[in-house]
């Protein structure tokens, strides 16, 4: 046991030293041979003015597409383990009234984040995280499905990010631009459309992941569509 602890300690110490060296090298090392200059120089071609959004949605779009696919795969894995665990008891009046004011605020802020991501810090992932947080709060305040739509719609929402990304990329390829190559004339709107779909998908996926299982179709509500519980 002592030997194992020693091995772990030494490994972690080496990792720490290595990370410190990488950091030192990154900050004080050669500063001109960096991808940053290449990326910053080509931002006018990306359709957005926020460098991080430009890299994320345009220069490294493949990466972002696969990232959404990973998120989708994780949700599918979680859903395949069974139904969601039963919800908590309904919250007291303080948390309920707080939820009533915080959740709309979160949705509003998510919309703002999404729009502002084109030219300043923000974007689909930040907006999606806020939507996910809204879902977590609703779940904590006693709503068994975290305010998510019925299952058929939830499925559409979680797939939406990958779907919109792929369909846009294939459509642009059909138009002769190449897979995931955005012509400057439409780049801003293509990126905004993909980001909107990604925001909904990320928000739905994060809130659904918090349920730890496939959402149980609520009984006794008129909102459930027929056949919603079949798999």
């Amino acid at each position: 046991m002592r030997a194992r602890n020693l091995v772990i300690a030494v490994t972690l110490a080496f990792l720490g030293i290595y990370l410190a060296w990488v950091f030192l090298e990154g900050v004080t090392g050669q500063t001109d041979a960096r991808l940053a200059d290449l990326a910053l120089a080509r931002i006018p071609e990306s359709g957005v003015s926020n460098p991080v959004t430009a890299v994320l949605l345009n220069f490294r779009a493949y990466d972002t597409l696969l990232e959404l696919a990973v998120l989708l795969a994780a949700i599918l894995g979680i859903w395949s383990t069974g139904s969601a665990v039963p919800g908590f008891v309904p919250a007291g009046p303080v948390l309920s009234s707080l939820t009533a004011s915080v959740v709309p605020l979160l949705v509003l802020t998510a919309g703002y984040m999404l729009w502002v991501g084109a030219h300043s810090p923000g974007g689909a992932f930040q907006a999606g995280a806020l939507l996910g947080a809204a879902g977590v709060i609703m779940r904590l305040s006693g709503r068994p499905n975290a305010g998510l739509p019925p299952l058929p719609w939830l499925r559409v929402a979680t797939v939406l990010g990958v779907l919109a990304f792929t369909v846009t990329a294939l459509a642009l390829m059909g138009a002769g631009a190449g897979f995931l190559t955005f012509p400057l004339a439409v780049a801003k709107w293509v990126i905004l459309a993909i980001e909107t779909a990604a925001t909904l998908a990320i928000g739905a996926a994060l809130a659904a992941a918090y349920l730890a299982g496939e959402p149980v179709v609520a009984t006794g509500t008129t909102a459930t569509s027929p056949g919603g519980s079949e798999r």
């Binding site: 940053a36 910053l40 460098p51 994320l56 979680i78 383990t81 994060l206 992941a209 730890a212």
Partner: protein
């Protein structure tokens, strides 16, 4: 450990006060965070199922 790597990458993006930070590591970290959260969520769910089976 994951958080440490993310923090190091973000710190590496710093390029002095005159220029904007390097957007490439920042985008990498943003991608990494989402992947890490997905994997953690899946792992936690699997752990919870195992715990339920033990009962």
């Amino acid at each position: 450990m994951g958080a440490g790597v993310f923090h190091t990458l973000v710190a590496v993006a710093y390029r002095g006060t005159e220029t904007a930070p390097d957007p490439v590591p920042q985008a990498l970290v943003l991608t990494g965070i989402v992947v890490a959260v997905s994997a953690t969520a899946l792992a936690l769910t699997l752990g919870q199922r195992l715990d339920q089976q033990d009962d």
